[in-house]
Symmetry: C2
Subunit: 193 residues, 2 copies
């Protein structure tokens, strides 16, 4: 491949997904700009992914493509980030149980072409339906520790699979990186040649 791939994320789940589709890459984690001007979910995640990719691209030389990604959970149009404590995790789960919510991941690719930087951003949306949960189930799940570092307070690829009823869209988008769309976009841009 002409371009070395750099993943601008420390997320072990994103590393796992990129490994899964068989692309060689290295990791340079971005701190990520927490502030975001955009209002629409799809614009928010694309903007946040752009900040992460640019933070690393600015430090990079040569034929590299930098991948930035940001995932947010939206319930009734409001973003749910990572819970600050167990109480907030339980509140998020109480909102999500028995309902359908949206997960957006924005992805930005930045790469050198000749003397200039090129970039493209896209997002994927997945609708996730959760089975009804009892208060005991929520309490037990929070105690497992799984919710604490995850947007929306759950990990679809973990214990929480018990409570997932169905999804519409890309599953890996919910885990944190829509690798199907990512592969297709990189192919279209000639970044995999």
């Amino acid at each position: 491949m002409k371009h070395q791939i750099i993943l601008a994320s420390a997320s072990p789940r994103r590393k796992e997904l990129l490994t899964q589709i068989g692309l060689p890459f290295t990791v340079q984690a971005a701190c990520g700009e927490e502030k975001c001007e955009a209002r629409l979910p799809q614009k928010q995640v694309e903007e946040l992914s752009f900040h992460k990719a640019m933070e690393i691209a600015e430090k990079t030389e040569g034929a590299a493509v930098v991948i930035g990604a940001d995932t947010l959970v939206f319930f009734r149009g409001k973003p749910l980030g990572k819970p600050r404590d167990e109480k907030e995790a339980a509140l998020m789960l109480k909102a999500l149980q028995g309902q359908t919510h949206q997960v957006y991941t924005g992805v930005t690719l930045i790469w050198h072409q000749g003397k200039s930087l090129r970039q493209m951003s896209f997002h994927e949306r997945t609708d996730v339906s959760v089975w009804p949960m009892t208060d005991e189930e929520i309490e037990e799940y929070v105690k497992s520790g799984e919710p604490m570092d995850k947007a929306g307070a759950y990990g679809i690829q973990g214990l929480f699979a018990r409570f997932i009823r169905r999804i519409e869209g890309d599953y890996n988008n919910v885990v944190g990186l829509p690798v199907g769309r990512l592969y297709q976009e990189m192919k279209l841009e000639g970044l995999l040649d």
Copy 2:
């Protein structure tokens, strides 16, 4: 739990999924009856899962619940099993690329209640849309070896994630065991108390 859980399947993917949702279980692989009287996809997978569960339940004593499962891929109403060779794998993938197909998993639970055996069966259907694939991509994927032991000649949880556009339904159903629905059904039947 009152009931010991026995998974009547040697599939490493099913073992992984049942482990993921945190239920303790043991494995006793069924050979499985290949013949099937039913015509409808949902009836076929339920019947095949029933044969597997019954094969193990007949050898089992005490308070155990046996889980049998069978997964089939259907394209335009016709079942695609595991490919016999690389040529058949390529033909299956040529049919599935750029299209939407159906994955059905049937699940049967058999358990002792007093002196009698009780059983219930259900199925889940997931629609899977695949990105268009070039002949080179199909050839390369077949060479990876991943298609050979899988219904429909692909593994959604492997390299093939590159080519998955979207799904509607349960992701784990495509991997081989709809653990969300399974957990809910076991809860309803009081098998998790």
